[in-house]
């Protein structure tokens, strides 16, 4: 008679038990991870980096073999001509892509003449992290060490290595949420508060000459540029001017970064 009711109750109990078990499992997982210095997260991040790099390679292969453009050409009346045009366009795109990589690597090579370090590939999405971090595809085995400075191709500081495993490293961006960094803005020392997404804010007293486009540098990061003033809020009713700073680096376009080796 009460089959439906008893089934639901039993099912609810099973669901709650499963939930409890998973909760305990996750807590134990984190404890093990913390005690072992991040062994669990190293596995997760290695997998993420491998998948991201493989996905990028697959994307480039698809772009270069013309699979999608061939389909577009089949739909048209002039198959042969359109396929040829598509092929040429692909070659242009591929050439542009390779040119971009060559340019980036050339910049890195130039950087390597002034700084000692290694060029490493970016191995994760920039938008996915809620903590303002991203992964690079090199770790301890490749010579990356903790607290190393990470630069873009043109020498802008974009972060520091905050965690490193055998073959991957985690970079915490200069403007990650909650990060406070001492910087120089037009010669004036300021505390820059990271807001994530390549943005930060700081406050300077009225009277200091600040304008959009001014460069922000960080002595603690080797004096490298960390941002550019985007907007200055000069509300006379507040005690200080609110300065909005943005990173000059377009994170989404970064394929390689330069990890500076600590000076010995």
């Amino acid at each position: 008679m009460n089959t439906g009711f008893s089934y639901r109750e039993r099912n609810a109990g099973t669901g709650r038990r499963r939930l409890l078990l998973v909760t305990i499992f996750v807590i134990v997982l984190f404890l093990v991870d913390m005690v072992t210095g991040g062994s669990i997260r190293a596995i997760v991040r290695d997998a993420n980096a491998r998948i991201s790099l493989a996905a990028r390679a697959i994307g480039m292969t698809i772009a270069s073999n013309g699979y999608f453009t061939s389909h577009a050409a089949l739909a048209s009346q002039n198959v042969a001509l359109q396929a040829r045009v598509a092929t040429l366009e692909e070659q242009i795109v591929l050439s542009a892509s390779l040119q971009q990589q060559v340019t980036t690597l050339s910049e890195m090579a130039h950087l390597a003449t002034t700084e000692q370090g290694i060029t490493v590939p970016v191995a994760s999405s920039f938008i996915a992290s809620p903590y303002g971090t991203f992964l690079v595809g090199a770790g301890i085995d490749e010579g990356v060490s903790l607290d190393s400075l990470v630069l873009s191709g043109n020498g802008t500081a974009i972060g520091t290595i905050s965690y490193v495993s055998a073959h991957t490293a985690t970079v915490t961006e200069v403007f990650a949420p909650g990060v406070v960094i001492n910087a120089l803005l037009d010669g004036a020392p300021v505390s820059v508060h990271g807001a994530g997404g390549g943005n930060a804010t700081t406050q300077v007293p009225h009277g200091v000459s600040i304008a959009p486009g001014d460069v922000v540098t960080a002595p603690s990061l080797g004096g490298h540029t960390i941002g550019i003033v985007g907007h200055v809020d000069t509300d006379p009713s507040s005690a200080a001017m609110q300065v909005y700073i943005g990173s000059p680096v377009n994170s989404a376009s970064l394929q390689y970064v330069f990890v500076v080796s600590p000076r010995t």
Binding site: V22, V26, P130, Y163
Partner: protein, 86 residues
């Protein structure tokens, strides 16, 4: 049908950890926790932290998304029990 929907949301949540902005993962956690006793929601939260936490400290930084997902999943238990599961 419900199993497929639940599975699809969970898979989207896991993929979002690596590819999409974090709010996608949070939406998946909330939707799963609202409708199901979803242990997957806790795993998504843990995966976010294991993948993106800056360092491996004991106390700092706190695995916020794991804590958040546990709170959401267990906090919504009375609501689910009252309105959805029975």
């Amino acid at each position: 049908m419900h199993r497929y929907i639940r599975g699809a949301i969970a898979v989207l949540g896991v993929i979002s950890v690596f590819v999409f902005p974090v709010w996608v993962g949070i939406v998946c956690i909330i939707v799963l926790a609202l409708r199901y006793r979803a242990w997957e929601a806790i795993l998504i939260g843990a995966l976010i932290d294991l993948t993106w936490l800056p360092s491996a400290g004991i106390i700092h930084p706190l695995p916020l998304f794991t804590i958040l997902s546990i709170i959401i999943v267990w906090g919504l238990e009375p609501l689910r029990a009252q309105f959805l599961l029975k």
